[in-house]
Amino acid sequence: MKESQVVNELFEKWIEDAKTKLNEDNFFLKINEYLESTHPEICGKCAPCRDGVPRLEALLKEYKEGNATLKTLKEIEDIVNNLRSSRCSVGLDIGKNMEVVLENNYHLLYNPVKKY
């Protein structure tokens, strides 16, 4: 099974079961794997997807490195919402999936930065 398929299956599970929660380590790893798996599909034409996905990756890296703040989280939210203004279903789907991720795992993103 290709890696991207594994990730997509994981997403399907998330979407089916809105209660699925991941632990922190697993979460950032999986999200990164997922985002990376979208790279070959990105056509590069529209800004929200072409520039949004790499920016998301950079922001998640800030979490991993312990540099994230509330601002980081806010920007992640903005970028995810904005994926819904993409030009085609590639970006729109990434947006939808990421919305679910945010909804279901908000605590993982919020807890580390709420002190800021």
């Binding site: 056509c43 034409k45 203004s85 030009r87």
Partner: protein, 569 residues
């Protein structure tokens, strides 16, 4: 007709209208960035997104057609957030050095960031998307500033037909807009028209800068002569006077004179000579067979286009030099051997032209209108000090007051005017043009029009061709139809020099109100019927040269062309 509600206003609009245009029709502006009407409706930037009731996702207003009963919100919080997010993403990959940027205060990207109050980290001179710099004798590209809107690509392909710029998205995450990788603009077949520069909303594409060279020249004791086209003078005056009702063109001359040029001349004498030379070529054609067309070569970009892409038509080009080149040669060879000559034009292609082997040493630099405005800023020149004395001494005596054969903004009419005066001894009747390609109300995409006229016993057929894509279409038409024209007035910029690559940027390049006004003004101070053969040009020919097309004249006023190659992947 379809009913649509925008921000609570219900209106009826034609089916097929875009949301953007429907909103515009009731005075609601939706911001755009990658959009050029009918040229680049690609939906890349997503700045124009709006909310449509019943749709989960935001849709781009510029390229989404309305549907019946559609309910649209153009400025909901969701919409504004999305616009800000996209702009922030673009800004994060842009190198900001606005104070030093070739866009020089006329940047559409800057304006839209400001309108949306964009704040983001890493503000300040950042690295930008890519760090390549692509060189060219007329056009340069600084990849640190590209926002990948594709506007330049659309223009270079569809309006200019040179196909130099391409949106390269083999690597989707890192697309790049550029000429053929590793090559300069010139090597990829650029004609220097600068239409891409005018279309670029950022300072990514810009016209090669000669300001530093000229400022250095002015520090030297060697006299530097400026010669300025009428279009350039008009536009500089426009800029100085902010479009006041009556633009005073002389002010452009006096302001430039203050910069330290030894003389500031127009190029009217040389333009007259170009007309005379072309008239003599036309007469030759009429007497010696008309199986080839005679095509003007007064636009260096059109000449380059022919050399690169249609070299089978090179023998149809008039060999007369462009006016500023002819006059520069005249100044240096006949009038003042020491002087340096700087041409001030609305044209960017002349920068490429001056590097031609055949024209070596003619002019020492070419300044565009935009560069002159920059120099005026550098020097803190007093723009209010009108009517500075601009006594140009002996050059003025030899080279001004001409303009006998320039009653019209169209070269073809000036040539026919002179022919009519010579043969019929009366001014030319106004020409009736038929548009055969393009649309004059959308002249920014170029046009071909033709007219017939009788002069003496000759029935002449002439054409006006504007825009590279139309030049291409025109050559094709000549080839399939076996038609020939007695004179073809050919220029690469869609509306000629009034819209040249060195003119100020218009945010909406499909609106040619400004250009129309410019043409009206240019026509105002020349009078078609005015004709006094006793002055300048005639005197100049008599004093320094032989009659048109004589040997002497050939070396000074004529040039040659040869096929050129380009590499496109």
């Amino acid at each position: 007709m379809a009913k649509i509600t925008i921000n609570g206003n219900t209106i009826k609009v034609k089916k097929g209208t875009s949301i953007l245009n429907a909103a515009k029709s009731i005075g609601i502006d939706i911001p755009t960035l990658c959009y050029i009407a009918e040229m680049n409706e690609v939906g890349f930037c997503r700045i124009c997104v709006v909310e449509v009731e019943g749709e989960q996702d935001l849709v781009s207003a510029c390229n989404t057609e309305i549907t019946n009963k559609m309910v649209v919100y153009t400025d909901s919080e969701k919409v504004k957030e999305a616009r800000r997010a996209s702009l922030r993403l673009l800004a994060q990959k842009h190198r900001f050095d606005c104070w030093n940027c070739p866009k020089d205060g006329m940047c559409e990207f800057y304006d839209i960031l400001k309108e949306h109050d964009i704040v983001f980290e890493e503000f300040g001179p950042g690295k930008g998307r890519y760090d390549d710099f692509i060189d060219g004798t007329a056009i340069n590209q600084d990849q640190t500033k590209c926002i990948l809107c594709k506007r330049c690509v659309a223009v270079c392909n569809d309006v200019v037909a040179a196909r130099v710029l391409k949106f390269r998205d083999d690597d989707g995450l890192n697309p790049i807009v550029s000429p053929t990788p590793e090559l300069s603009f010139d090597e990829t077949g650029c004609i220097g028209c600068g239409q891409c520069v005018k279309a670029c909303p950022t300072g990514t594409l810009f016209v090669k800068d000669h300001v530093t060279d000229v400022e250095d020249m002015l520090l030297d004791p060697v006299p530097v002569v400026a010669q300025m086209s009428e279009e350039a003078a008009m536009i500089i005056a426009e800029e100085l006077q902010q479009f006041s009702e009556n633009v005073n063109v002389r002010e452009a001359y006096s302001t430039i004179k203050q910069m330290g040029f030894s003389d500031v001349l127009d190029v009217n004498t040389a333009k007259d000579m170009v007309v005379l030379e072309d008239v003599s070529a036309l007469k030759h054609r009429l007497e010696n067979g008309r199986d080839l067309s005679l095509i003007s070569s007064h636009c260096p970009a059109a000449v380059r286009f022919t050399e690169l892409y249609h070299d089978n038509h090179l023998n149809e080009l008039s060999t007369t030099k462009t006016a500023h080149m002819a006059q520069a040669k005249l100044i240096k060879d006949v009038l003042d051997h020491k002087a340096k000559v700087v041409s001030i034009l609305s044209c960017s292609a002349a920068k490429m032209e001056m590097t031609r082997e055949e024209l070596e040493g003619h002019v020492d630099a070419v300044l565009t209108v935009n560069e002159v405005m920059k120099m005026i800023k550098h020097r803190y020149l007093d723009k209010e000090r009108h009517e500075v004395d601009i006594d140009n001494g002996k050059l003025q005596a030899a080279l001004s007051v001409a303009s006998q054969y320039q009653g019209s903004i169209l070269q073809v009419e000036n040539v026919l005017q002179k022919l009519s005066l010579d043969i019929d001894n009366k001014p030319l009747e106004p020409l009736n043009y038929t548009v055969i390609a393009g649309d004059e109300s959308k002249a920014s995409k170029g046009v071909i029009k033709e007219a017939k006229v009788k002069i003496g016993d000759h029935k002449l057929k002439v054409a006006v061709v504007r825009g590279g894509a139309q030049i291409k279409a025109f050559y094709k038409m000549l080839e399939v139809s076996n038609k020939t024209y007695d004179y073809v007035d050919m220029m690469a910029c869609p509306e000629g020099c009034t819209n040249g690559g060195g003119t100020p940027f218009e945010h909406d390049i499909t609106t040619h109100e400004v250009i129309k006004k410019r043409i009206e003004m240019l026509c105002q101070h020349t009078d078609m019927a005015q004709y006094d053969p006793s002055v300048s040009t005639r005197v100049l020919y008599e004093k320094h040269l032989d009659h048109p097309s004589s040997d002497d004249v050939m070396t000074l006023l004529h040039t040659s062309f040869s096929p050129k190659e380009s590499t496109k992947e």
